[in-house]
Amino acid sequence: MKVSNLKKSDCTICSIEGEINLNTSPDLRKAFEEFSRQNIKKIIIDFEQVPYIDSSGLATLIELFQRMKKIDGKLRICSVPEKVKNVFEVTKLHKLFEIYDDQESALEGF
């Protein structure tokens, strides 16, 4: 799994590439912790290149969500492949996260 960040004005777009599982989610967590350290308040996470996410990955995402809420930050998610979307739906997390079809729509009004 690889994480790459792109700054767009005051917003950071975080693109993840690869499976998020027991082995890789700790690295994702580190990448997310870096956001807090830099006090980044607007984050879009792009899931286009994520074929699979397990519960540890979802938990890592929830932890970020909680952290963002605490600092009045904003978190959006975009380009979620069908299989991953199913995981969000089964766990009802699609109701928690703001999910957009693509980066452009996620950036709109952000």
Binding site: L22, S25, P26, R29, D54, S55, S56, L58, A59, T60, I62, E63, N86, V87, E89, V90, T91, K92
Partner: protein, 266 residues
């Protein structure tokens, strides 16, 4: 349509207890991501079949093949490896009474992963929420109802995102509404997360709600395997008697029993 992938295969499996043939030459294929239901009367061998599939007990004859690997006679370490991808909800699976609900569900995560405590806590909350038990984290098993304990067991069974989940009577002792919630969860896990489910149940409502295919076991043999429509429409008298809950038919409840005279030693 894609070629169906066999994920569990029983080949001519037999098992004896105290000289009695409890499982009698069963051959069966279960496909990836289907919900496969095993039904049958009490004592027909359903739980035994599940224990054979999960490697808890070994067959006396035949073999059990999981994802192409014959697990009969392999080492404990190898078996542990295969079972890492299993979730198991046993008929009488007990929670640890000295641990809270949260601690019970986190056990497999603590044992098999190196995840941070905070992450484990969130996963446990997610799993408890899936079985409708959000807010019960700090309760002890003795403080919740039997149906709730069962749901905690289910949350624990799916803690590690298993590829195959084995359920022994998941809805017994639950009220119909909660039973329906559990049925939907089992169904969703299969259809949306492509998890394979093997479910033992008496609950006909549940069978028709969740099954892709059904096998009926009678006296250690499989009398029929088919989809729900096949089971509903079959003229097989065992199946008809079972699904309609008729006291009379080829399944003779008393035949095996000794007479009342002998019983009372008259």
């Amino acid at each position: 349509m894609e070629e169906k992938e066999v994920i569990i295969s029983l080949r001519n499996v037999s098992k004896y207890f105290q000289g009695k043939k409890i499982i009698d030459n069963i051959s069966l294929d279960i496909y990836r991501s289907e919900t496969f239901v095993i039904m049958g009367c009490s004592g027909s061998g359903k739980s035994t079949l599940l224990r054979l599939m999960t490697g808890v007990i070994e067959p006396d004859e035949g073999s059990v093949i999981i994802k192409g690997k014959n697990i009969t006679g392999i080492s404990v370490e190898e078996l542990d490896d295969v079972r890492r991808s299993f979730g198991m909800l046993f008929q009488y699976s007990a929670l640890l009474d000295s641990l809270t609900v949260e601690e019970n569900v986190s056990l497999p995560l603590r044992e098999h992963t190196k995840l941070a405590e905070d992450i484990i806590r969130i996963i446990v909350k997610m799993k408890l929420s899936l079985v409708g038990l959000r807010g019960y984290e700090s309760y002890y098993p003795s403080q919740i109802s039997g149906g709730m304990r069962k749901r905690v067991g289910l949350a624990r069974a799916i803690a590690l995102d298993p590829a195959i989940v084995f359920y022994d009577e998941p809805t017994s002792g639950l009220d119909p509404v909660v039973g329906g919630v559990i049925d939907k969860l089992i169904k969703d896990l299969s259809s949306k997360l492509l998890i394979t489910s093997v479910v033992v149940t008496h609950d006909m409502q549940s069978v028709f709600n969740i099954a892709d295919r059904v096998a009926m076991v009678h006296k250690g043999q499989v009398v029929i395997v088919g989809d729900v429509a096949t089971i509903k429409n079959t003229k097989n008298p065992y199946v008809q008697q079972f699904i309609n809950g008729k006291p009379h038919g080829p399944i003779d409840f008393f035949k095996e029993d000794i007479g009342i005279k002998e019983f009372l030693e008259l």
